[in-house]
Symmetry: none
Subunit: 214 residues, 4 copies
C-alpha cells in the first residue's frame, strides 16, 4: 500500500515536472519566434509560461540551456513529421523534394516554428537534426553518383539546397506566397541540382499526404 502510494506520488511528480518543462519550452518557442534569441529576457519567458522566476531555474540553469532544449525539441518534432514521409523512398530527388515541400508547409502552418527555424538555420547547431543533415548530404552524393543530379561541386549544391530553403521559409513568413510555392521551391532546387525542368516539376508535384494540423 505504502509502496503503491509512493509510486503514484513519484509518477504524479514526474508528470507535473514534465508539464512545466514543456510549458517553458513552448512558451519560449513563441517568444523566440516573435523577438529572436537575443532580445528576450528571462522575464519574458516566465511571463509567457506563467511561472515564477525561481521556477525557471528549477528546470534550466541558464537561458542558453533553454535554447538548447528548444532546438532539440524543434529538431525532434520536425524529424517526427518529415522522416516517416521519406522513409520508404529511395530516389534522392523524390526524398529531397518531399522534405523541402513539407518543411515549407510546416512553416506556413505554424509561423512560430518557421521563425525559430529561420533564426536557427544559419547556426550549425539548431533546427536541423544531425540525422537530417547527414541525410541531405547523402542524398546529394547518391544522386550525383547515380547521374540523377548533375553537380560539379557538392559544397555548392549544399549551399544551394540549404540557402534556397532558408530564403523560401523567410518568404513564406514575410510575404504572401502562392499556394504551390513549396512545389516551386522543390522544383527549382532540383533544377539547380541538375535535373531537367520537366522532370524536376514532375517530381516536385508528386502526391504528398495532407499536412496535419499540429
Amino acid at each position: 500500500m505504502a509502496t503503491i502510494d509512493l509510486q503514484r506520488r513519484a509518477e504524479i511528480g514526474r508528470q507535473k515536472r514534465e508539464r512545466t518543462r514543456s510549458a517553458l519550452i513552448e512558451a519560449a518557442l513563441k517568444v523566440v519566434a516573435r523577438r529572436g534569441f537575443e532580445a528576450p529576457t528571462i522575464d519574458d519567458f516566465i511571463a509567457a509560461a506563467e511561472v515564477a522566476r525561481g521556477t525557471f531555474y528549477n528546470y534550466f540553469e541558464t537561458k542558453e540551456a533553454l535554447f538548447v532544449a528548444m532546438a532539440a525539441y524543434v529538431a525532434d518534432a520536425v524529424d517526427t513529421e518529415i522522416l516517416p514521409l521519406v522513409a520508404g523512398e529511395d530516389d534522392p530527388a523524390v526524398r529531397i523534394a518531399i522534405a523541402i515541400r513539407h518543411f515549407i508547409r510546416i512553416c506556413k502552418r505554424d509561423h512560430d516554428w518557421g521563425w525559430v527555424l529561420v533564426r536557427t538555420l544559419p547556426d550549425t547547431t539548431g533546427g536541423w537534426s544531425e540525422e537530417m543533415r547527414k541525410g541531405v548530404l547523402d542524398d546529394i552524393r547518391r544522386g550525383k553518383r547515380s547521374g540523377r543530379f548533375k553537380v560539379a561541386s557538392v559544397p555548392a549544391a549544399v549551399a544551394l539546397g540549404i540557402g534556397t530553403l532558408g530564403a523560401a521559409i523567410r518568404m513564406v513568413l514575410v510575404d504572401r506566397t502562392s499556394g504551390d510555392f513549396p512545389e516551386q521551391i522543390a522544383a527549382i532546387t532540383l533544377q539547380g541540382l541538375g535535373m531537367e525542368q520537366e522532370e524536376a516539376a514532375r517530381v516536385a508535384a508528386m502526391p504528398l499526404p495532407p499536412i496535419q494540423t499540429r
Copy 2:
C-alpha cells in the same frame, strides 16, 4: 575676411566630424565581424574606434543607429565595386554570374564585410542596396522572357538566387572553400535558373578583372 574665415572653420569642422564618424563605422565593422550584432557593448565600439564614450553619442543615438549607418556604408561600398563590372553587360546570365562571383570574392578578401553582409542580407533593409535588389529582379525577369533562363516562378528564382549566395558567403567565412568556389556557386545558380550545365559553367568561368585589395 571674417566670412572666409568662418567658411574655412566650418569646413574644417565638417571634415573632422566626417573622420570621426568614419572611424566609428569602420571600427564597428571589425567588432561586428568578430562578435556579431548582439554581443558587443558600446564600450567595445568606442574602444575599437579609440574615442571617448560621450563621442559615440555625439554621432549615434543608439547602437541600432550605428548598425544602420554601417549597413549603408557596406552596401554603398559593395555597389561601388560591383556595379561598374556589370555596367556594360547585357546578358542577364553574365551579369548575375559576375555579381555572384565578385560578391563572394569580396567576402573572401574582406571577412569583416562578409560578416556584415551575411548578418544583414536576410533583413530587407541592409546589405543590399536598392539598386542591387532591383537589378537582380530585373535580370531574372529579362532572362526568363528571352528564354535564357527557364524559370517557372520568379519568387522561387529570387529565393534560389539570394539564398544560395547567402549560404555561400557564410561557407566562405566559416569553412575552407576551394579556389573556384565563387565560380561553382555562380554555375549552380545559373543551372538553377534553368541553363544547361555546360553553358552555365562556361558563363561562370568568363574572365573577370582581378579583385583589388581594399
Copy 3:
C-alpha cells in the same frame, strides 16, 4: 493544507514587500529633508535604506515615483494626526487655528516631514491631502457666511492661509523661532481672515493636547 500554505506564503511575501517599501520611503524622507529633491541620487536613497541598487527598481520606476509615494505617505500621516483634533469642532476659526498650530508643531518636532511639506506644499499634488484641502476651503466659506470672518475674496483668503503657513513652516525649519510661534501664526492668520486681534489671540491660545513624539 497546500492552500493554507500558499496563503501563508503570499501573506509573508506581502509583509516583506511592505516593509521594504516603507524602508525606502522613510529613508527617502530623511534624505530629502537633508538635501532636497534634486541633489540626491538613487544611490543616496538605497544607501539610506540599506537595500541593493536593483531593489529600488523593484518598487519604484523612477525617483519621481518615490517622491510621489513619499508625499502621499506624509500627507496621510499628517491627516492622521490633525483630523481627529478638529473632528468634533464646529467653529471654523477654532478648526483653522488648531490645524495651523498643529501643523507647525509637527514640523518643529519632525524636521524631515517639515522639509517634505515645505517642498511639496506649492505643488497642488503633494503634502496636502484632498480632505485637508477641501476642509480649509470649506471652513473659510462657512466662517465668511456666519460672519465669523470678514473676507472680501475667498481666493485671497486661501492665498493668505496657505502662503502664511508655508512661510511659517520654512521659518521654523531655518530660523530659531519663539515657543509661541505656532500661536502667533494662527492668530495673525485669523486676523487676516477678519477677526479682531484679541479674539484671534484668544482662539489661537486655546488649549491643545500635547504633541506626541512620533
Copy 4:
C-alpha cells in the same frame, strides 16, 4: 587716428559683449520660467540664446554663475519698477499695498518673471533685492510702532506678508484670477497686519500709475 580707431573697436567689442551676455540672461529667464532651476541643461540655455556651447563659458564659469546674474538682473528690474512708486510715500500701509499690487501686476503681465520670482522667493538669495527686504521689515516695524498695524509678532507678520504674496503670484500664474486680485491681496494682507477691513480696502484701492508694457 589710430587711437580713435582703438577706442571705437573697444567700444564695439564692449557692446557686442554686453549684447551676448544679455541674450544669455534673458534666454535663461524664459527657460527657468518654464522648467525651473534644476531640470535645464546648459544645452537648453545655449539653444534658447542661439549661441554656441563654448560661448556660454566665455561669459559664465558655471550654470550657477548664470543663475546669480539672472537673479541680480530680475531683482534690479523689479527694483527699478517698484521703488520709484513708493519713493515719496511715507505711510507703511500705502507703501506695502503699492508694492504688493505692483508685484502681482508685473507677474500677471510677464509670466516668465512671475515664475522666476515664484521659484526664487523661497530661497533667501534671489528675487528680492536687499533693499526690498529691508524695506518690508522696516515698514512693518514702523507701522507697528505708529499703531497703523496691530501686530503681536513681527516674524509672524513677515511670514504673512511674504507667504501671502508668494501664494498670490502662484495663483496668478496657474489659475484664472479676477481683475482686482492684486487689490484683494493687498487688502487682506493689510487686514492681516491689523487694519480694519474698510481702511485696508481703501488703502488697497488707491490709484496707481498704469503698468508699463515691458
